[in-house]
Every structure is written in C-alpha cells, then in structure tokens.
Amino acid sequence: MQEWANQLCENRQFGSKMTDSKYFTTTKKGEIFELKAELNSDKKEKKKEAVKKVIASMTVGKDVSALFPDVVNCMQTDNLELKKLVYLYLMNYAKSQPDMAIMAVNTFVKDCEDPNPLIRALAVRTMGCIRVDKITEYLCEPLRKCLKDEDPYVRKTAAVCVAKLHDINAQLVEDQGFLDTLKDLISDSNPMVVANAVAALSEIAESHPNSNLLDLNPQTINKLLTALNECTEWGQIFILDCLANYTPRDDRESQSICERVTPRLSHANSAVVLSAVKVLMKFMEMLPKDLDYYGTLLKKLAPPLVTLLSAEPELQYVALRNINLIVQRRPEILKHEMKVFFVKYNDPIYVKLEKLDIMIRLASQANIAQVLAELKEYATEVDVDFVRKAVRAIGRCAIKVEQSAERCVSTLLDLIQTKVNYVVQEAIVVIKDIFRKYPNKYESVIATLCENLDSLDEPEARAAMIWIVGEYAERIDNADELLESFLEGFHDESTQVQLQLLTAIVKLFLKKPTETQELVQQVLSLATQDSDNPDLRDRGYIYWRLLSTDPVAAKEVVLAEKPLISEETDLIEPTLLEELICHIGTLASVYHKPPSAFVEGSRGVQHKRLPGSAGSGESVESPDAGSAAGVSDAPPAVIPSQGDLLGDLLNLDLTPPSATGPPPAATSGMQMGAMDLLGGGLDSLMGDESEPPPIPLRTDTPQSPQLPHQSPSPPDYSPTELGGDLGGSPAMGAGFGAPPAAMPASFNAPVSSGGLDDLFDLGGGVGMPMGAYSPPKAIWLPAMKAKGLEILGTFARRAGVIQMEMTLTNKAMSVMTDFAIQFNKNSFGLTPAGPLQVLTPLSPNQSIEVALPLNTVGPVMKMDPLNNLQVAVKNNIDVFYFSCQYPISMLFVEDGKMERQVFLATWKDIPNDNETQFQIKDCHLSSDAASNKLQGSSIFTIAKRTVDGQDMLYQSIKLTNGIWVLAELRVQAGNPNYTVSLKCRAPEVSQCVFQSYEAVLKN
C-alpha cells in the first residue's frame, strides 16, 4: 500500500513535469543519437515519447530529418496518436528524403482500406500532403476510391486532396479525370462534401483562369443554396464566394438568390457576413430600383456592417476597408450610421485612419456639425499622424460640403490658436486648398496665418504659406517683407519651396511692380544663376524672358484665373470601383487594387463587372447587356494582358509567351529588347521632349509660343508648371496648371516638324477611295491598367504611309499631359516617324484621335508572333506598356507588282518546302471582285488562269523590307471556300500574310 502510494506520488511528480516544454530544453550534444536510441526502443511508451520530442524539435525549426528512417519505422502501429505523430513528421520531411518516403507508401495504401473511416480519411489526407512525385503516383487509386467512399467524412477529405494533388501535379489530376469527379461532388447529398468540393474547385480554378471548372447554372446554384444552409461556417464562405461569380438570368432569379442569402447576414462569423454582403451588393444591381424588395434589402445591409465594427480590431480593419468601397458605391446604406465610425482613443492607429476616411465620405450637410466637433476632438489626440489626418479631414469637409466651409475655417483657426506646431502647419496647408475652392471669401484670416510664419518648418506648409502670400499679395501690406524674409535662406529651402517662392515673388511684382523690382531681380538671379536645379532654373528663365519681353503676357500667364479645385479627389475610378465591389472581402478590396494588379499567379484573371441594372420593364434584356459588357471587356485573346507583358519585360527568366519553344537566340533577343525598352528606352522617351518644337507648354497663351525656342532648354528638361504648382494636394495639382481650354488658332508657325505637316496632309487622304484595309479599332490599353488612360487603336496604310491610329481617352479624374510613345524592337523595324502629337492636355472624360506616322527603319528583332508590337506610352502620370498586333498588309508596298517572267522564275526557284496552303472559308466574292479588293491592299494579280471552272489568280506582294511573297489563289465558282498557296523565301511570314488575305477579303 505504502509502495503504491509512493509510486503514485512519483508519477504525479512525473506528471506535473510532464509538460512538453521539456522538449525545448534538450539542446545538449548527441541529442539526435539519444533520440535515435529511444525511437528504436522496444517499449511503446518510450517510442511515443521519443516521437513527441522529435515533433517538438521540428516545430521550433530544428532539423531532425536525420531521424527519418527511425521515425518511419514507428508508423506501423495500432496507436492512433503515434500514427498521427508519425504522419505529421512525414509531411514535413518527406520532401527532403523522397527515397525513404517510399517506404511509407504501403502503410498508406493499406490504411486507405481500413474499416475505420477516420483512418481512411487520415491516410488519404496525409498522402496528399507528401509532396513527392513518386508517392503521388501511388495516391491516384486510393484517392479515386475515397472520392466515391460510402462515408461522407472520407469523401469530403478526398475532395480537398484533389486540390492538394493539383497543386503538386496538375496534369496528373486532369489525366486521371479527378476534376470531373470533383464536379460531380457538387451534387453530393452531404452539404459538407459540397462545400469542400466547391472550395477545392475554386482553388484549382484560380490557377486555371479560363477553365470552366465552376460551370454555374440554375441547377447547380440551387444545390449550392441548399448546401449553404447546412454546411459549416467555412463552407458557407466558399459557397458564397462561388455564388458571387454567377450572373443571374433575370431580376427574378437575382431576387430569389438574394432572399436565400440574406439570413447569412446574421451569422456570427464575420467572413460569412462579408461574403454575403458581396453577393447581395452584386446581385442588387440587377434589381429594379422601384421594387419594394430593393429598399428592404438596402435596409438589411446596414446592421451587419455596423456589427462588424464591434469585432476585434483586425476584423474591423478589413471591414472598414470594404465599407469604404460600399460607401462610395451606395452611400445610402450607411448614411445614418455616422456615429459608429467615431474614433475611440484606444483604437489601433490603422482602424482610426480608416474610420476617419469613411467619416469624410459620409459627411453631408445634415451631419457636418457632429463630424466637425469630432474632428476637432481628434486634433488634440496624442498620435501625430492621426492628428495631421484629422486636420486634413477638416479641410476636405470644407471642400466637400460647401455650407460647412465657414465652420471649417473657424475650426481651423481655433486649431491654429493652439500653437501646436504640426497642427498649425497642417491647418495652413488645408486652408490653402480652401482658398482655392472658395476664392475671395475667407481672406480675412490671412492676418492670423501670417502670425505663424516663423513656426513653419515643413516644406509643404512653407510652400502653402508662400502661395497664399503671393496669391493675395495685393491685400497683404507687408507681402514684400514677408517674402523677402523667406528669400534669405533660399538655397537651404527644398525645391518645392524654392519654386513656390519664385512664383510668388513674380506674382507680387506683377501686382506691385514699383516697390518690388529689386526683390524680383534678386530671386530671378538666385534661381537662374546660383541654382543647379534644372526645374528651378528653367522656370526662372521663362519668367525672366516673359517679364522682359512682354509684361502683359506675363501677367496673363502668371496671374491667370485658376480653375476651381474639384470636390472629391480621392474617389476610386468608377470602373475600378465596380470591379472591387465584385471582390468585396478579398485582398483586392483591402488594397483597393484590381486583383490582376497584384495577386501572384492570377495571370489573366477575368475582370469582374457588376451586372447591368434592370429597369422594371426591361428585365429580359438586361442580363444580355451585362454579359455583353463582360465579353467586350475581356482583353483580346491574342494580346497578352499588361501583367503578362510587364512580367515578360521585367523578368528575364520568364519564357516568351508562346509555348512552342522558340530558339534560344530569339529569347535572348527578347531580353535585350526588354532591357532596352525599360532602360535606355525611357531615357530617350524623356529625351524626345527636349527636342524643342513639338512639345507645347502647358500654360501657353497666344503670345507665348515663340518662347520655348529662345529659352535655353537643358537636356534633362522636364516640363513644370509655370503657374506654380504647389504639389500639395492632388486637387491642387490637377487643376492648377490647367491651360486655356482651346489652343489658339494661330498656333502653327513654330510647330513645323514633319510629323504634323504629314498629319495635315494625310487628313485629306483619309477619304480617298483606294485606302487599304484597316481593321476596326480595338482596345489596346484598358483604362484599368493605365491609371485611367484608355487607348483604342488600329493600323492603316494611307497613301503609302503606315499609320498607327489611336483614340486616347482620359477616364481618370485628372488632366493628362506630356504624351510620348516608343516601340520595342520588332520584326519589321517599325518605329514612329515623329513624336506623338497630343497638343492639348487631355482633360477627364475627353477623347482625342491621334494618327502616328510610322516608318520601318528602326532596329529589327524577330517577334513571336511575327507581327507583335510592344509599345510604351508615357504621360505625366506614368509609363504604360501594352502590346498589339498589326496586320501585315500595312507593310505591303505599292510597287509590289512583279513581272510575269520574273514571277514564273521565282515561283520555280523557291523550294516547294516553302509553300504553305491555307483555306479561306465563307467568302462569296467572284474572282475579279476579290482581285480588285486585294489590289486595294497592294496584293497584285499578275495573271489569271481558268481550269475546269476554277479561277487561279497568281499574285505578288512585296514587303517593306524587300521580301517577296508569291501567291496562288484558287476560286471555284459556287464554292465559298478559297484556297491560297503562298510561296516565300521567308516562310515565317506566310501565316501573317494569310491572315491579311482573310481580313481583306472578308471586309
């Protein structure tokens, strides 16, 4: 008895020391050997302890792979825990010991047949996690059985296993038909199995963007909706995300799905709630606005969104980022919920900033008083970043809600009185914006602002203050003194302040010329002689020249009336917003970027669009419209999406887009080209602008065009705004330097480079009847990918000149200027014959037609496909890349008619291997009509022969680089299918030439 008690006592002590932390302490030498001995012990308990130690070492990142054979030996056991532990180990180390891992296969296969479904599931699950090719082969048979297992637990585990296997070896999964089996599981009787099948398919579909894996039709949708009610919370997320990809046929179907999804809004799991919100936000678009249900749904959306904000801060953050989108799309949902966005002092900073942003979006006349009181409160918080944002927010409120402007200004003045340095500086920056929005209204506060001049030490605040002094110089008695005081330390100021100071003093001079002569001379000499900053120097010279030649003009330029700044400058572009709404709850929605822009491995992701909304009466047509929009939105298949192109250009390891494996020489050429386009190419893009004539200055007025010629223009010239860009808020930048709306009519003398003349000449030629075939314009660069710049384009050959015709549309919120274009090396040396002529800045929602003449004297590099052209377009915002394909008929020269004899001889001379034959289907032209049509595109018929009712046309084509293509076109009366045989010394071009034949004949 005593002995027993002692033993129990010992065990108890042992038990209390039994925690796993002891595994962390074994750091002494020879540890591995010790473990090895224990693993091979006869005692079960000792073995298990040893495996536990191994696992513990593994979790903290120690390398215990040397014990592989010993651990695997423990696998054949009846003890479930030991088995699981060994499985854990296997999953971790099988990859590094593939040959050893094979030893485990038999046990796995045996376990897959075990009568206990838990063991079967565990085996198939673990096998899928072992990422060794040799093992995956053995996995197929057991997996197939498990997918059809009688036990749903095994089936649902097997469904996930298919996704695992796909990750390791996609081809194997397809070959074995597992995808079809997986699709069948969507109709399984058990909701968990359905949910896992959907999850697995969604994951597989992500790496196969174009596969139609989740083929959604009303039947499958119905099954998913049924499973939705019964599966686990995680399953609900997968099913809801899958539902969001469906486009209902009509508003009734849309409504019924919404009705069945709405209960999910009351789920305790916030991810379920947000996924449900996504489905509802998307399908709501299809509901007619006058439907009662529409209003009900709107009301139902608010409470769950509010509830998300009482969750943990991390959840709040994601919720807030999404609410930010929802508020922009449908402000009515949360317009009464302003207060839930009020900031608590112990919210994490990332939550505070998001709340602040949403508060401003929701600010309206009705609630502005509350909002301002809150913002003022925040301006006294501890966190400097947050305080600054709060002060900025007051300025944004003033600009957004006109009625509140006065209140905002007085709030800002109160804050300036606090004399807290960063608050004052921030306040001055926003007051400058308020002046821009409401000129001549609040200038009375300038005196107060001037009191704080000395405390300003941040460039942005100094620049803002200087702008204010310059702009209102006539009302500030001592403006000259103030500006002079800044001038003392001119060279220590940042560029922003220097530029601003220069402009302000010139303004002052123009307003009060008599007293400030000396000052202006001082600043001009500081800027032009003592500064090595090219921007500053140029601006100085321009002012100098302006003032000395034509003070009236100078006044018109410098003191020109500025356009008002716009209300909201930070709204997401509507197209992007629509896409993001379809991605609510995803990473894309957190970053407010389209998924294609940043998610790795999601190349060619389909852009999602909201379905078209239906009026009450036209419900039947709307889905068509929606899907049509979807189709036209997708980029043309032959052109790699921008992401791909960039990838190709940037990543030298990437193989070229074609899968046919081009010769290595071509690959390296491609890389060279890529480097060129990005490196030297950009420089020369910039360099282009330094060639004087074609770049019009933004602030040109009728008197000024002669200026650029005379002003020195250093090679690294970059255009700046004469009017004095503060560079502060985007609103300022956008509106400030905006030039006169139309270019003066007399604007022609200086711009006399060949390009423009050509352009005018060619303008006449457009209507000429003999124009070669030119394909309709296609979207080359969608607005989404180019920060709002959309480019539609095509190629044409007019009067012997190859032209690239483009429509540039500005879909962004700000003005675009400084366009330039450059091509990568290409197969036929196409290169712009002149600079891109976009003379007026492109304002938002404006389009412009541009024709760019091309020649073929540029560097040559073989592209794949042959007629591929990679283009870089630059504007003031960024540089964008796209690629397009030109019809090769652009390159057919007008003197391509061969002599008969020469034709015959050449035809014989070219080896028969070089002959390729193509079929042109469904062409109903007679041989003569065809011949005429082809002639228009410089495909010349040399001879015609008729044999057995079949017309044979012999034709010749000459390309710009001197390559001849000979053709035989066979036309049989009554047969719409033509046969064309092409012979050429460079047979690579045949395919392209054939495409041109087809295009010309069918249009």
Binding site: N11, F14, G15, D20, S21, F24, E45, K52, A56, T59, V60, N79, E81, L85, N116, L118, G128, T157, V160, C161, D167, P191, M192, N196, A199, A200, E203, E206, T232, E233, W234, N269, A271, L274, S275, P304, T307, S310, E312, E314, L315, Y317, V318, A319, V340, F342, Y345, N346, P348, Y350, A373, E381, V420, G585, T586, A588, V590, V599, E600, S602
Partner: protein
C-alpha cells in the same frame, strides 16, 4: 488558402511554425518584424501586410502574434476569423493562451493545428468535435496515461462532423441536467467634456452553459424581442423561426457557447448608468496640474453599480501624481503613465471623489493632448437595454432540466473625453 502559421512572442521570437502546404522559410516574417518595428506599439501593427510573394495576415492575442502566410487570393476575414478561432481553442484547451502554455503543450498544439486545417481548408474548428478527437490535457489524464500507456487522441470517428448538427456530439449523458443562460450587455460609449453622449451603443451576448443529456431541442423566448433587430446567431439557431416568431429555437452544443450576440444601436436611446464630473488641467507655468474626478449614478434602474474603476493614460510629461481618494485606491504606473483608480461599489449617498495635483518636470511645455478616461463598471441582475427572457422550453427529451437566466451589464469601451 492558409499556407503557414507562425507564432511570435512579444519580443519577436518565432517559437512555433506550422506549414499546411510546402514549407515557407521563416525569413518571410522579416517583413512583419519591419512593420512591427515601425508601428512601435504591438497593437498598431497593420493586420494585412504585402510582401513580394506572400501576404501576411496577423492577429494579436494575449501578447502573441498569430501570423499566417497566404499566397493566393483568400478572403482576409476568413483568415483572421480562423486565427482568432485558433487562439480561442488554445484558451479552451489550456485555460490561457500564452507562450508558456503553448510551449508546455506543443504536441497537442501541433495535433490541434493539424486537425483544424487541411491543406489550408478548415477541417474541424468546433470545440466539441475537437475535444472528441484530441482530449484536452489535464494532470489527471497525464497521470492515467503514464500508468496505462493511453493517449490523448481519441480513436473514435468524430460523430458530430458528419451529422447535420456538427456542433453537438451524440450520446451525451449527465446525471444533473442543467441549462444556464447569461445575458451580458456591454455599453460602448463616448461622452464629451460636458457629459453629453457623443455616441453610445450596447453590445449584448447570450452566453450559454448547457449540460443536457440526449438531443434536447430548446426554445428560448423573450418578453420584448422587438429590441433585437441586429443579431448574429450561433449556427445552431434556426433562423426561420426567429424571422417568423422571434423565438430562438435550437439544438444546443454541449457545454459552453455563445448562443447569440446582438447590437442595440446608437439610434435607440442607450441608458448611461453613471455620470463623471472631471477636471484635468495643466498650468502654463509652474510645471504642475490639477485633477479632480467625481462619479455619481445616473440611470441605474435602481441597481447598484459595482466594480467601478477609472483608467487614465496621462500625458508623457506627468512625472508623478499626488492625489487623495475618498473611496478606493489609486495607482500610477510611472513607466506606462497609466493612472488607475479602483473604486469598487458606488455609494449614491457619498459620491467617490479623487483630487490632487500632477507634477511635471520644470521647463517642459504644457501637454498638448487631453487624456481620456476609461470607465469600468458592472451592474448585476440588469440588462440595460431592457431585454428579458420570458421562458425556456425543452422538447425531445423526457427529463426535467434545471434552468437559470442571469443578467449582467458591464462597461465596454466606455470613454469620457476631457
């Protein structure tokens, strides 16, 4: 899906890693450390971080970072919810969620993680199901295990995972059948200087502890269900019944769970149980300041306010405080600059008051920010929104259970601005 999980302690050591797909080097966490460095406070580390090849989604619980690595587009809320669930499970299994406890139970932790996620897909996250497969460690069990060579892992198929009620295990048996419901309401409020309510709302939850044999089917009804218009339910609640009859009908999980949470929004009038009169001022000169706080009852519905506590984050410049409290004790932590006044029960006859001076080093300018007061309180037997349970019925089983409902109101994020 979720690729990997790293557990990182306060000082930035990775002490556990788990990979559900291929192994990702722990160097990926360097991006997180960089962000952590920048954020200064651990609470302020952004929860979603982008790195060149991965996304890092983090939650901060119990001074630990749960950092997950994902590679493809995954709903971040799903990841965050899951990470919190992991932390909840640790809490449930080991009584707390801390580095020490996780290290003590690392093998169980590893088994749990393996069971909770398969290839990044959640597998079993219901505590009932998990406990059937992996028994929580207890001292007694480890003693028994050492004696008998038994193990912590159940060899039963988790029955709940397959039925339509995955949250309940089959064959539950109790000698005492009991069901307790706690209606817990938290007041989130912001009061301004003058005591006016800027914002107030009630977060309510019904926490249940149900120990009933067999498959009981319960119905809980309220006196005034119309108060509850914004609700989130445990998956067991039949939503249709709620929509049509405003009763909670459900087959409960076994043990402790949150039956529902609700939210009485700021539009409704939320009763504020106490008022706070405060004055914290700093003098322009003389490097000191004054503080005076008085708390009194406001709308307490005739109940006693207990557990009253005031927490103030003082400006950094405040070196020390010299105060007198008419009731309770105060402490001032010099390192964190947190002043805590623990009052206890609120006596309406003799209002608690704290007053005295704050001292700052001389020559330091007057602090720019105004400290906020955080109030903690508790009122037993009161749901401040007025929600009341009227009855609980049980169907499907023959025995008579013991039933009980308790109400309590607490302060949630209750802040008074100065």
């Amino acid at each position: 899906m979720i690729h990997s999980l790293f557990l990182i302690n306060h000082s930035g050591d990775i002490f556990l890693e788990k990979h559900w797909k291929s192994v990702i080097s722990r160097s990926v966490c360097d991006y997180f450390f960089e962000a952590k460095e920048k954020a200064v406070d651990p609470e302020n580390v952004p929860p979603v971080l982008q790195t060149p090849h991965h996304y890092l989604i983090t939650v901060y619980r119990g001074k630990l970072f749960f950092l997950s690595v994902i590679q493809t587009e995954v709903p971040p809320l799903f990841v965050i919810e899951f990470l919190h669930r992991v932390a909840d499970t640790f809490q449930d299994y080991f009584g707390e969620c801390s580095e020490g406890v996780i290290k003590d139970n690392v093998v169980t932790v590893y088994e749990l993680l393996e069971e909770m996620l398969d290839n990044g897909f959640p597998l079993a996250t219901e505590s009932n199901v998990l406990k059937e497969m992996i028994r929580p460690p207890t001292i007694l069990r480890s003693v028994v295990n050492t004696l008998t060579g038994g193990s912590n892992v159940g060899d039963m198929l988790p029955t709940g995972q397959l039925s339509n009620i995955p949250w309940r295990r089959a064959g539950v048996k109790y000698t005492n059948n009991e069901a307790y419901f706690d209606v817990i309401e938290e007041i989130d409020a912001i009061l301004d200087k003058s005591g006016t309510t800027v914002f107030a709302e009630i977060q309510g939850a019904i926490e249940a502890c149900v120990r009933l044999s067999g498959m009981p089917d319960l119905t809980l009804s309220f006196m005034n269900p119309r108060l509850l218009d914004d609700v989130s339910f445990h998956p067991c609640v039949r939503f249709k019944r709620w929509e049509s009859e405003r009763v909670l009908s459900f087959i409960p999980p076994d043990g402790n769970f949150t039956l529902m949470t609700y939210h009485v929004s700021s539009q409704n009038l939320v009763a504020i149980p106490v008022y706070v009169k405060q004055n914290i001022s700093f003098f322009e000169t003389g490097s000191c300041g004054r503080l005076e706080i008085t708390i009194g009852p406001k709308q307490t519905m005739g109940k006693t306010v207990e557990g009253l506590m005031v927490t103030i984050h003082m400006p950094k410049a405040v070196l020390s405080v010299n105060l007198t409290a008419t009731q309770g004790n105060y402490t001032y932590d010099l390192a964190t600059k947190v002043l805590v006044w623990d009052i206890g029960k609120l006596n309406p006859q003799k209002l608690p008051n704290l007053r005295g001076s704050l001292s700052m080093p001389s020559g330091v300018p007057k602090p720019e920010e105004n400290p906020s007061l955080n109030i903690d309180l508790k009122i037993q037997q009161l749901a401040i929104s007025g929600v009341k349970v009227s009855r609980l019925d049980m169907y499907g089983e023959k025995y008579k259970p013991f039933k009980g409902v308790k109400y309590v109101t607490k302060a949630g994020k209750f802040q008074v601005r100065t």
